[in-house]
């Protein structure tokens, strides 16, 4: 492949460039040759050495009375800490080498953090020179760091290869310098490519996409790389040939084109399409949060129409379970929390909010309208259900973080207390967004509850948000946007909603597209789904953009978006890897399986055994996906990962396995109750005169939504024959299938 030849040349060039630039940097570092500046020379060294990290002197309480600003984001404070605090004993201007700072860092006097600095290193000399030059304070007219660049910006790499990065810093006085050794590096996929402290990237034996972030001062830059799956030119050519064949089979949708382009780039060959039974179960779970019945399975398998998958998706989207299931998802994100309310009078709020969400989904309310109604909700929470969002979201950090995470796909929490370490967000961005909500007022409310219910949300005349460090009053401003120009009676929340839902908003549509893509494909194009940043790029930016553009063009039609995603070639693939995509976790070359969520699992068991779960305080027959809030007692749901709705992050719903889950499956009184219920499916089956083979086939269809394979049928029949108690035999067979990973996963 020409690619690899190019790489070799580029590598050579880079190596040469690296050597030259190092020499230049060395000349600049020569003692006393230049003035050492605190902010841009000394602080980055402290950061690089880890002195100001969150575990050491950078934490809010400092370490042993010595506190630096986290990652050196506030050099003025660091200067005070070094020069003025502790009666100045940290520096020794007369004898710089005897400064406590250097004695500690080199471990010449005992240092809890060990030896961080070598006396013969350049870093040591720079710090010492700064002290020797009189420990000059940062000055207003010091050149400011404007940006950094990382070279190369992108590169295709082979496995077990290296790539030296070069970091250049650019200053306000027009100068620039090589800060390769002072920058801090981090890889987003260390298994694919790790990076060391000197900016040397090393790939391993894995394939895929990887980004390396560099930080110097407040500035960040990223290097993007790909390690192709096809290990050499012959394999790459073979992969392309297979992809050529695939291209002729693909539909014309832009999603499929972008998926293919990515597969070509990485030399990944996707797995085969999933069989019909697998697809039916997959789509029914993903769209309706429900298992297909045995009847649905037989009917679907018998359908011979070529467009039956598309028809299935359309059918599922019109079922009431679609709205219930996605309402559950949104109630998590919107924190429709019931905990803390003991009486049904207080609880009405969660029921009302849940119903509003469900209705919005059932009527396919455009997504921009849905979010605008939430953000701008005012009035009585009894009469205007979206205003109930303001019940769980009450304070500045909650407004900012919920909006950023839920609708903009950005984690901005860090910027509450300091500059965001991996993105451009500053405290001014954080508190500018906070100012949008500073005039949200609350009246009335039923105060006996821990969190008041039935409040009236209104727009106060004023409400100020000050920058926590500078004290400056901040005007309402969206993330990365200009201050809103507001008249006296304008509600800044309206401006925010209009800014978000504009067709050129860089976050809003992409975040929703990515959220739903992750829902269906098991992983976001941006991953994690609410952590979009330049240092964590989308795995397939063109795919994300194309879907987002279509979503905007459709008028934010959510069902249309779901159709686009579920009709994509990737969604229809089987989950088994094949040679050519083994180890792929980023390009959707196969279906990534995931656990069936708590509510769907419990409903699934109830459906299979035909014995409903009795939830306290809700009408009989209510399914788990229909529960109004998370506070309806259900041990099974808590054990299997139902979230407490404490944040807008979908990550709160965890899929980590736990012993208690296994015990719940193995030994649960609830499952046993459903198995022995007199009117339940197990008993009915036992009482029927069906043959052993028919029993076994029906049980497989019902639990796993497929027919048994011959060897499975044989084993099941043998068991049924061997077990004298027909009822117990049915129960055991049902139980064992309910405990298989095939049942516990959507695959």
């Amino acid at each position: 492949m020409t690619n690899f030849k190019q790489i070799t040349w580029q590598l050579l060039l880079l190596l040469v460039a690296g050597v030259i630039s190092r020499n230049i940097a060395f000349a600049a570092d020569t003692p006393n040759a230049t003035v050492v500046r605190f902010s841009t020379d000394v602080v980055p060294i402290l950061t690089k050495l880890g002195c100001d990290s969150g575990g050491c002197h950078g934490k809010a309480t400092g370490q042993n009375g010595f506190k630096l600003s986290l990652f050196g984001f506030e050099p003025e404070l660091d200067y005070d800490a070094l020069v003025t605090e502790a009666r100045g004993r940290r520096l020794n201007l007369a004898d710089p080498d005897r400064s406590l700072l250097l004695l500690k860092a080199t471990s010449r006097v005992p240092h809890g953090g060990g030896r961080r600095l070598n006396e013969s290193s350049d870093d040591y000399r720079i710090v010492r020179d700064w002290i020797a030059q009189g420990a000059t304070a940062p000055r207003e007219d010091d050149p400011k760091l404007v940006r950094i660049e990382l070279l190369p910006k992108e590169q295709i790499l082979r496995t077990n290869a290296t790539q030296q990065l070069k970091a250049m810093a650019f200053f306000s006085d027009g100068t620039s310098r090589d800060v390769t050794r002072q920058a801090v590096y981090q890889s987003n996929e260390p298994g694919i490519a790790a990076v060391d402290a000197e900016g040397l990237v090393k790939t391993g034996s894995q394939h895929g996409l990887v980004s390396v972030m560099a930080r110097f001062g407040e500035q960040i830059a990223a290097f993007h790389s790909a390690v192709p799956f096809a290990a050499d030119e012959a394999k790459m050519a073979a992969a392309q040939a297979q992809l050529d064949q695939l291209e002729s089979k693909l539909g014309a949708s832009s999603s499929d084109r972008h998926l293919l382009r990515q597969w070509r780039r990485l030399g990944v060959v996707p797995s085969a399409p999933a069989d019909d039974a697998t697809f039916l179960r997959r789509a029914t779970i993903d769209i309706c949060g429900t298992l297909p019945t045995d009847f649905e399975v037989t009917e679907y398998l018998a359908d011979t129409r070529s467009d039956k998958r598309a028809r299935l998706i359309d059918r599922l989207l019109e079922r009431p379970e679609y709205a219930s299931y996605f309402a559950l998802k949104w109630a998590d994100i919107l924190q429709n929390r019931g905990a803390g309310y003991s009486t049904s009078k207080q609880r009405a709020g969660t029921t009302l909010f849940a119903a509003w969400i469900r209705d919005s989904l059932a009527t396919n309310k455009p997504y921009d309208q849905f979010v605008s109604e939430l953000l701008t909700a005012s009035g009585s929470q009894n009469e205007n259900p979206p205003a109930i969002w303001y019940r769980a979201v009450r304070k500045s950090p909650e407004y900012v973080e919920s909006v950023a995470q839920a609708f903009l796909g950005v984690r901005i929490q860090c910027a509450q207390c300091h500059h965001h370490p991996t993105e451009r967000w500053s405290q001014a961005d954080y508190y500018g967004l906070a100012a949008v909500f500073s005039r949200v007022g609350r009246k009335g409310g039923f105060a006996d509850a821990e969190v008041p219910t039935d409040e009236i949300i209104y727009l106060k005349e004023r409400g100020d948000v000050a920058h926590p460090r500078t004290g400056e009053l901040l005007k309402p401003r969206p993330l990365g946007g200009a201050e809103f120009s507001l008249g006296l009676h304008d509600d800044p929340r309206g401006n925010l909603a209009r800014w978000m839902t504009r067709s050129d908003n860089p976050f809003f549509a992409r975040t929703m597209v990515n959220r739903l893509w992750a829902h269906f494909l098991g992983r976001g194009i941006v991953h994690p789904i609410d952590d979009a940043r330049s240092t964590n790029p989308p795995s397939n930016p063109e795919l994300l953009d194309a879907l987002a553009q279509d979503f905007i063009a459709s008028g934010f039609d959510v069902k249309q978006l779901i159709r686009a995603i579920t009709r994509s070639y990737a969604y229809g693939l089987e989950s088994a890897p094949q040679p050519g995509n083994t180890g792929d976790t980023q390009t959707f070359a196969r279906f990534y399986p995931r656990r069936v969520t708590a509510e769907v699992l419990l409903d699934g068991i109830s459906q299979v055994l035909d014995v409903p779960t009795n939830f306290p305080g809700v009408p009989a027959g209510t399914r788990a996906i229909e529960l109004p809030d998370e506070n309806v007692a259900a041990h099974f749901l808590d054990v299997f990962g139902r979230p407490a709705r404490m944040s807008a992050c979908e990550c709160e719903r965890v899929d980590a396995p736990a012993l208690t889950q296994a015990l719940e499956l193995v030994n649960s009184a609830e499952i046993q109750r459903k198995l022995i219920d007199k009117t339940g499916y197990a008993q009915r089956l036992a009482a029927s005169d069906k043959s052993h083979a028919d029993l076994a086939t029906e049980i497989f269809l019902r639990v796993l939504a497929r027919r048994p394979r011959p060897e499975e049928l044989k084993a099941a029949v043998e068991f049924l024959v061997s077990e004298p108690d027909r009822a117990e035999a049915c129960r055991s067979l049902l139980w064992s299938l309910l405990a298989t990973n095939e049942f516990l996963f959507n695959h």
């Binding site: 391993g204 404490m646 980590a656 396995p657 736990a658 996963f745």
Partner: protein, 431 residues
């Protein structure tokens, strides 16, 4: 070729899969070959829910006026000069192996937020926002160093979780929530619900179900690169082993103890819970949390303490002596703590109210020095006179003793790394 096995996940390190899962695999599953920390130490906690009165137990004020002194006299112990309440005569006899911290301080006087503070080291929830924000120390320990010996769970609650819901794992992951015993060990028919078969299910059926599961659980495991499926497999066999096998059942079988030993601990919930805790740590548990009765004695405190102190006294003293006799006292930390203490001055209902300005906890074993008193309260109680100890200092002491590295950080839901000890420092006088 690049399929992820558990082992190469471990070699690659956590970031690939997200810290939670890899750590879970490392610690909760059987990864004996994976460089598990070598500490063999464990922890037994007596959680005094509601807040025990320091001035009627470990910080008596014999010379104070009656309304401060309370109704009990003080007695000497086997440590010269160290006096205790006369309701703790058995601990007084083993005081050389126990230490008291008399200067614990935090700044909340309401049960739930205070319980969060003492369980997690951090102030967090308020009455208005009561959900847990940080993991309990038991969960941190479970995640950091895991079970000593699976299938015994790392973190066990006897009989179940209390402390206002703050004994859980929160963002560490559900795998690190406590395993709840679910029954009173002093009950004549004590059985662990989770280990007992539900009505209508026989051991024979469990065996055939187990065999069937093995036959049908054939979904290809290489479709899942996340480790979740492998984790579930491990837990399913562990659960079946717990239910159908003998080892767990044996550990929970108090009838296997000499009746004289059971008497020594006391035939009450405190004593039998402590005995069970000893059996569980011997069998491999890392942290057993005994949730004792309620100590929220606003009214007629003498009545409450007369009921609860003697059994607590017997349980702690017997545990110390039993562990010592078995050569295990240096391996097992004992920690008696509640969310706060009680007001130094009695109230108008012959009770004491909530008090967090200065209260006492008990620490012993696991290598912690005995017979020491750390810190002091003011003359008649009230504030800290000397050597203020924070909730995080207490946790740092316990983590350090157990071998949990104090620079451990775990990411919360927003990805922010949170220190397990914050600014807490181990109490060096005890080490």
């Amino acid at each position: 070729m690049s399929r992820l096995t558990r082992r190469n996940v471990l070699q690659i390190g956590a970031p690939l899969l997200g810290l939670g899962l890899a750590d879970f695999l490392r610690l909760e599953a059987q990864a004996a070959d994976a460089g598990r920390p070598t500490s063999q130490k464990s922890l037994i906690v007596f959680w005094t829910d509601g807040g025990i009165s320091q001035q009627d137990t470990y910080d008596v004020k014999p010379d104070a006026p009656a309304e401060y002194r309370g109704m009990y006299r003080s007695i000497g112990s086997n440590v010269p000069g160290l006096v205790l309440s006369d309701r703790l005569p058995l601990q007084a006899r083993v005081m050389d192996r126990l230490s008291i911290v008399r200067s614990v301080h935090h700044e909340n006087g309401i049960h739930a937020p205070s319980a969060h503070w003492m369980q997690t080291g951090y102030f967090g929830p308020t009455l208005a926002r009561n959900a847990a924000q940080k993991p309990s120390f038991g969960s941190v320990i479970a995640r950091a160093i895991g079970s000593r010996q699976p299938p015994m769970p790392a973190y066990v609650s006897v009989p179940k979780s209390e402390a206002f819901g703050y004994q859980g794992a929160v963002y560490l992951g559900k795998a690190f929530n406590p395993f709840e015993v679910g029954a009173d060990p002093n009950a004549a028919d004590f059985k662990v619900p989770n280990l007992s078969l539900p009505t209508g299910l026989t051991a024979r059926s469990v065996d055939s179900r187990r065999a069937l599961l093995k036959t049908f659980d054939t979904l290809r495991r290489d479709i899942d690169d996340s480790g979740v499926m492998e984790g579930l497999d491990t837990f399913k066999s562990q659960a079946l082993e717990m239910v159908a096998g003998d080892r767990m059942r044996a550990a929970f079988n108090l009838n296997a103890e000499d009746p004289k030993v059971r008497d020594q601990y006391g035939r009450h919930r405190y004593g039998q819970s402590a005995l069970l805790a000893r059996r569980l740590v011997e069998a491999g548990a890392r942290c057993v949390n005994i949730n004792t009765g309620n100590w929220d004695h606003h009214n007629d405190i003498a009545k409450g303490l007369d009921e609860h102190l003697p059994p607590l006294d017997r349980a702690i003293a017997a545990l110390v002596e039993d562990l010592d006799a078995r050569g295990l006292l240096d391996e097992v930390i004992i920690y008696c703590v509640g969310e706060f203490g009680r007001t130094p001055r009695m109230n108008g209902h012959a009770g004491r109210d909530h008090w967090s300005d200065c209260f006492s906890v008990l620490l012993a074993g696991g290598g912690i020095q005995g017979g020491r008193v750390i810190g002091a309260s003011e003359k008649w109680g009230g504030g800290v006179r000397d050597r203020l100890v924070t909730p995080l200092d207490l946790l740092a002491t316990i983590y350090h003793t157990l071998g949990v590295p104090l620079d451990t950080h775990y990411e919360d839901a927003s990805g922010r790394p949170v220190s397990i000890v914050g600014g807490g420092q181990p109490i060096h006088e005890l080490l």
